[in-house]
């Protein structure tokens, strides 16, 4: 395949970033926005071309019809040793091609949407520069040919996320949210890095292709080394997954994501719903063959995903900030993907979990972006994040209402919306692994439907507050904002019918999806019941929700406070890291280490003071010292000689 187009896909956003970043302050807002959007649009076209060529060009299948992993280019960037070389390359295979599509699509939508949403904001050019930077990093991440390249872009993604969350830098909450996001993910990245170090130490390679095509060699290279009870490969994989946990907001490293909603809403849609947060899933998927040889690691992945899914779903039921609800929903949905990967085994339905996970990633990106952009439109209209100050908006904002509803149905898994198909496959994979996971995930799916419709009803139904005290009544956004909504809603409706199994599978063999009716029906029924419950509780303003909340007061409060994870985080950072580690160390440094150095000086001065009597000014004491000194020198020497 020609290098030009893949190179351009990466280069265009980077150039946009540089152009906008360096010269942006000289441009008009409009100019900057259009430039950025055009750049992203071009990248979108190129990415579609590439993906289309890959999937349907027919050049990238072997004799058996399996898709190939194709390295378009791979430049040496930094050679550590002969084998350990960081290369910057472009790996084209089903998941990267799919991710190219997802990223460019969502990114373009957000670029477009932001033209309206961010209109007139200070730092508009900066905003577009950062968006371009993010797109560049994310694209680089998904096409990485080796794990270190991925790590590089992983870090860049984190940094651009930091910059975008902290876009409103004068707002202390935004600043602290961005800081929190960066540090928490950084902590996770530490695990990632150590994982890379361990893995590369044993396997002596960074290359994904080398590793995944012969995962047995990776296992063999460790020679059965064991560290603290676990095999080193388990350690490496779990640590790598820890990086994924950070980015993908798995419990307990999820705490940054709800706070990250301080950023502009389109950013939340792009980064914290559709693209960056699935990087963890992508990472595990990328390394999946290696994970397969060490099932303990996959078990851990499953457990983390399952717990997170349930937790996030419960919390989402209690939040009032619409973006937070969506954030927790995102966490929960990503957890679905993680579980799906965790339960996937080649022998179970030909590894359907892997496919399901990727499928859900794709569909989720679409409808979650839709939901976030919709939420953005709402916030744009009512200038508040809380649904308590909304209600009855269906009349004021019909387009938003319809698209939002589509999004909710999709996420709830109602046929024929996109979510139904992908979620169904996940449940199939879960049930096939064990009944427990199946039931667990079905329950979470039910919760999902419930909280989404709670949200939906509270926004669009519930009551009819008086909007006249606002400076304008809510109304639908300009076309730059509604167009992406409509487009995404369309995709959400039809994406389920994409024959995903033929495109993306764990071993790149085509695979036919067929609905497992018992499971599908069960899940739809559960979802409908949950929607029904939500309808009862939230369609009209009533006191039922409060009563229910009172009934399970403890649980409710705990969930409302997100099970006190933030408090725990604060406790660890402030009480332990700052007060129990840093401060004592700083004190130790000043008082003990530095004090010792000062003490040397002090002792010298003291000694000087102490012996000043020697110089008494009396000539007689001088000769006394003289004589005794001379005698002592002699006597001591004699004694030493005798001894």
């Amino acid at each position: 395949m020609d290098q030009t187009i893949p190179l351009l896909i990466l280069a265009l956003p980077l150039c946009m970033f540089l152009v906008l970043g360096l010269t942006g302050h000289k441009m008009s807002h409009k100019m900057a926005g259009i430039l950025g959007t055009l750049g992203m649009g071009t990248a979108l076209v190129l990415a579609y071309t590439t993906a289309f060529t890959y999937f349907f060009g027919g050049n990238f299948v072997d004799e058996a019809g399996n898709r190939l992993q194709h390295i378009v280019f791979n430049y040496d960037w930094l050679a550590f040793t002969d084998n350990l070389v960081i290369r910057l390359g472009f790996l084209l295979d089903p998941i990267s091609a799919m991710m190219l599509v997802v990223i460019t699509t969502i990114s373009f939508m957000v670029h477009l949407y932001s033209l309206g949403y961010m209109h007139g904001e200070k730092g508009f050019q900066r905003y577009y520069a950062f968006l371009s930077l993010f797109s560049f990093s994310m694209l680089g991440l998904v096409v990485a040919t080796n794990i270190f390249q991925m790590y590089i872009f992983w870090e860049l993604v984190g940094a651009s996320s930091y910059l975008l969350i902290g876009f409103y830098y004068t707002k202390p909450s935004a600043v602290s949210a961005s800081k929190k996001a960066f540090i928490v993910t950084r902590f996770a990245d530490l695990g990632f890095l150590i994982g890379i170090l361990i893995l590369s130490f044993y396997s002596n390679t960074f290359d994904f292709v080398t590793m995944t095509q012969a995962p047995g060699n990776v296992l063999a290279s460790t020679g059965g080394a064991v560290f603290m009870g676990g095999s080193v490969l388990t350690w490496a994989l779990v640590l790598i997954f820890m990086g994924g946990m950070g980015k993908s907001a798995m419990m307990p490293l999820h705490i940054w994501l709800p706070d990250a909603m301080e950023g502009p809403t389109p950013v939340s849609a792009l980064i914290h719903a559709a693209t960056m947060v699935v990087a963890g899933v992508f990472l595990v998927a990328r390394m999946f063959p290696v994970y397969l040889v060490e099932e303990v690691a996959l078990e851990i992945v499953t457990w983390v995903g399952a717990l997170t899914a349930l937790y996030a779903a419960i919390v989402a039921c209690t939040q009032v900030d619409i973006k937070r609800v969506l954030a927790f929903s995102t966490i929960s949905q990503i957890a679905f993907m993680v579980v799906s990967l965790g339960v996937a085994r080649p022998e179970l339905h030909e590894g359907v979990g892997y496919m399901a996970s990727m499928f859900h990633l794709f569909t989720h990106a679409m409808f979650k972006a839709l939901l976030f952009l919709g939420a953005g439109a709402l916030i744009h209209a009512v200038h508040s994040n809380d649904f308590t100050s909304m209600g009855g908006l269906r009349k004021h904002m019909p387009i938003t209402h319809i698209t939002f509803l589509i999004g909710c149905l999709a996420i709830a898994g109602i046929y024929p919306f996109a979510g139904f198909f992908s979620k169904d496959e996940i449940l199939v994979a879960a049930y096939s692994n064990s009944m427990m996971w199946g039931i667990w995930m079905t329950a979470v799916a039910g919760l999902t439907a419930f909280y989404m419709f709670r949200l939906y009803y509270r926004i669009f139904w519930w009551n009819n507050p008086d909007y006249s005290k606002h400076h304008h009544t809510p109304h639908d956004a300009p076309w730059t904002m509604t167009l992406p909504l409509i487009l995404l809603a369309t995709v959400s409706c039809v994406a389920g019918f994409i024959p995903f199994g033929e495109l993306v599978t764990w071993n790149r063999e085509a695979y036919e999806i067929h609905l497992n009716y018992p499971i599908a029906i069960t899940s739809v029924v559960v979802a409908l019941c949950a929607i029904g419950l939500a309808t009862i509780m939230y369609r009209k303003e009533n006191s039922l929700p409060d009563k229910v909340a009172d009934k399970v007061k403890g649980l409710w409060t705990a969930a409302y406070h997100r099970f006190y994870f933030d408090e725990l985080y604060l406790f660890i950072t402030h009480k332990i890291i700052f007060n129990l580690v840093s401060r004592p160390i700083a004190w130790f440094d000043r008082q003990i280490i530095d004090g010792t150095m000062d003490k040397f000086a002090e002792v010298t001065n003291k000694a000087s003071e102490a012996i000043k009597g020697l110089q008494s000014g009396r000539v007689q004491s001088y000769v006394l010292v003289y004589l005794l000194g001379a005698l002592l020198v002699g006597v001591v020497t004699v004694i030493c000689m005798v001894l």
């Binding site: 006394l624 005794l628 005698l631």
Partner: protein, 170 residues
């Protein structure tokens, strides 16, 4: 075996040395100290005579006893009023002085006594004639003292100059 006379002579001389030395440093009257010093120096000269260095004994008496002590007496008269009883010593000073001198005595005494060769008897010696002294003093070969002799003249000249400079009124 020494003659009894020389032993008695020795004893007298040594007793004089020790007693007058002690008196010289303990006497509270400074003029008396100078006098005791004079006696000590005489006794020293006596030792020199005893050992057969008559010339040295003569020099000792002439220069030391005759010159230096007179100098002392003059300066004492110059610097103190008659009947000026000197200071009363503090006991602390005494103790310190005693410690120092006793330490010196013990250490050096032990060192000397540890050397058995130092219990040597008086060997025979040919008389130290003036002729020999003169020859060796002005000889420039091995054992000759020509160079020190010349050198000390410079030293003495310098001390004279120095003494004048210091003592001169302006």
């Amino acid at each position: 075996m020494e003659s009894v006379g020389s032993i008695i002579m020795y004893m007298v001389v040594v007793a004089a040395i020790i007693i007058f030395s002690v008196l010289a440093v303990t006497s509270r009257k400074i003029l008396r100290s100078a006098t005791y010093l004079l006696f000590t120096l005489f006794a020293t000269a006596a030792i020199y005579f005893q050992l057969g260095y008559e010339f040295l004994g003569a020099v000792q008496i002439a220069v030391y006893a005759g010159g230096i002590v007179v100098l002392f007496v003059f300066s004492i008269l110059l610097t103190s009023k008659p009947g000026d009883k000197s200071e009363k010593l503090t006991s602390k000073k005494k103790v310190v002085g005693l410690i120092a001198s006793v330490a010196m005595l013990l250490v050096a005494g032990y060192a000397l006594l540890s050397r058995c060769g130092f219990f040597a008897q008086l060997p025979a010696m040919e008389g130290v004639t003036m002729d020999r002294i003169g020859t060796e003093l002005l000889s420039s070969s091995h054992g000759g003292m020509l160079l020190p002799f010349e050198a000390i003249s410079v030293l003495l000249l310098a001390c004279i100059i120095g003494g004048i400079v210091v003592a001169r009124k302006r």
